[in-house]
Symmetry: C2
Subunit: 397 residues, 2 copies
């Protein structure tokens, strides 16, 4: 994807090193819309909520947003009243430098919990940040959001309505602490389509449900998660509720978010595999989701994925304790298209060998067919590796 | 503890290598009571239930048991009708060799799921097993139960009632797949006290709740878990319901089970730490348990324990997503007696250093005070290490 494709009418982007990370790495980013954009947001469900989330959520839910300021390295979480003051100061100074209303500024932070945000470094960098705003800088903002991420995450989709083209551009960060609902992840999506805030809100929630809420790296969720969607209407494509264009837009939005979500799992801390766990034939959709989540989060399944070990016993055991209604004697398990277990029993040594070969690939699907109904659900997960332990045992040192 | 202390009147023990494990390691064990003993049992809640559990549960719940046959290396789980036939053949042949009623035999298996039990090896070894029965052989049975365990687990407590001494002797196995309810663990407890089956059942359930149901290594539970309690009445100590002796016996039983449970966590796959997570001051006991379980099972907390990193942000985040009612601005976190966070905020660099020093010890307590009520609960957990990944990625190869 070249830079040309990563532009959205009326949006500009900037990133720089404000000295939060070492070695001059990008750590501060800004997304700016020429005009106030309609906005929607989804936020962490953790009861411990970081200051920037507390400040930003009501503003974005208010329906208008013009600027998103994001820093990495420090989460400004568990920082009490001081943290709220610090987030407020960032927001106020950013508004002043941009000469816009403060309520149009969203602030977000990601990084270590429990340490005071270095506000002075951030505010000192703001004039330079604003002067660097450029329509082609989106990838730099994605880079500035990274913490334990090993690559920056950008995705885009393109649509048109009545010959007016529009773009949906998404940036995300996240590698560890990945679990519904929202995990330690930030996602910023901007579009030049014209969409009312209520419709934006509905479409965002649906798209998050089928993407960011269907991935897991570990079971931990964080204090800072947020996904924001801004639509500034710079394109003439006007999307109205209950229209076929709304359906198309929703599909494209879901595509962008799922693409970003899969990148997060692929970049899961220490991960070497991206595995789709698909449960079909469940008694209900709820049972399917319980079973898929249980398999996707089992440490024993995830270490077996790392070991490329077609140990279906761990998979069926995880289904068994998931709480889903199942008949163990009807369960089929496939790796790719290889039937590894049928009616709860091993198939053959040849099939196990074939399944093991598939597991050597970096991406594959594990399908559990409960043969008890029509319910289905999926989850994307990573393997659990030495490097996951290494990254998280040493993170602050 | 010398062998003398590990005897219980009227019980004898035997173990040998039946060729299930490599290199002649002990893999088959037998616990035998001279007379049918009153019995109680607690079994896996996994919906995928191994054949030996299906066979044994109704027998033990029937109230009488005289022999427990246990094998390691193969779980006889996910083996369908053949698995039930195999478990039945073991039980039938064991009864024949011992010359007792078949319904008095409990069978249990632990090891790999989904492979057929090598019944012929097991039945061929039975005569030799029975001829090796000896009151002083309990530790050998504990050894024969081991799979990924790095040490055998035996604990005993001693009581007396009206000058009649009695012993409670417990054997357990378990290292991975440890999580309520029951996990991949086997526990066999025998006593020479005289206790009615109904009372045994009540006391066992209570003691399991405060011991085996309060430990976690990973979140996985298994298809084979069982804890059996046999009381053969060979001592004159007769324990009756609602008596002060019943209270004493319950306390001793809980002590033995907790001791075994802690051994299992200490032996957690790859574990280098045994950490007690204690939640106090919760709005209710249920909230305390949710919070304790969430902290004790968080991969991020467990890797920080391995890294000896006093990263209380991960602890408070795990409390925050636990579902427990909390006020983040009131939470205190201690490591040992060092206050690491107060009212949701970091205390001082000196205190963090002192906490880090405590975390270098092999065993310590993390206390979370929610300051919102009287509810309290605890969990024992291990750290998440490279070796956990290694053991589970390579288990079958």
């Amino acid at each position: 994807m070249n830079k040309q494709e990563l532009t959205v009418k009326g949006f500009s982007f900037a990133a720089l090193s404000a000295g939060l990370k070492k070695e001059g790495k990008l750590d501060l980013g800004l997304i700016f819309s020429d005009v106030p954009a309609n906005s929607a947001g989804v936020f962490t469900t953790n009861k411990v909520v970081a200051a920037p989330v507390v400040l930003t959520a009501p503003r974005v839910r208010g329906g208008l947003c013009q600027a998103i300021l994001v820093n990495s390295k420090n989460a400004n979480a568990c920082t009490g009243k001081q943290g709220m003051l610090d987030a407020g100061r960032c927001s106020m100074e950013m508004a002043a430098v941009l000469d816009i209303d403060e309520t149009l500024v969203a602030v977000s932070s990601t990084g270590v919990i429990g340490q005071r945000l270095p506000v002075d470094k951030i505010t000192a960098a703001m004039p330079q940040l604003v002067s660097g705003l450029d329509p082609g800088n989106a990838e730099a903002v994605a880079e500035a959001m990274m913490t334990t991420d090993s690559f920056s995450k950008v995705s885009a989709a393109y649509g048109s309505f009545k010959e007016s083209p529009y773009t949906i551009l998404g940036l995300a960060k996240g590698a560890g602490m990945i679990h519904p609902n929202m995990a330690t992840m930030l996602g910023f999506v901007v579009t030049d389509a014209k969409i009312a805030p209520e419709l934006l809100d509905t479409m965002l929630k649906q798209a998050v449900e089928s993407s960011f809420n269907r991935i897991t790296v570990d079971r931990d969720t964080s204090t800072n998660d947020m996904v924001l969607l801004l639509a500034n209407g710079a394109s003439d494509a006007e999307i109205e509720a209950d229209s076929s264009e709304a359906v198309t837009f929703s599909e494209l939005l879901a595509e962008v978010l799922l693409d970003l979500a899969k990148m997060i799992v692929r970049d899961g801390e220490g991960a070497t595999k991206l595995v789709k766990v698909e449960v079909i034939g469940a008694a209900s959709a709820g049972d399917a989701l319980l079973a898929a989540e249980s398999v996707a989060t089992s440490s024993l399944v995830k270490t077996a994925l790392f070991g490329e070990d077609a140990n279906w016993g761990r998979i069926i055991a995880a289904v068994g304790y998931s709480g889903a209604e199942i008949d163990p004697d009807r369960v089929d398990i496939r790796v790719g298209d290889i039937l590894l277990a049928e009616d709860g029993l091993a198939t053959s040594a040849e099939q196990e060998e074939a399944a093991t070969a598939i597991m050597k690939q970096p991406e594959f699907t594990v399908t559990v067919d409960l043969k008890s109904g029509d319910g289905s659900a999926y989850y994307y997960t990573s393997d659990l590796t030495y490097d996951y332990v290494k990254i998280n045992a040493d993170y602050r040192t």
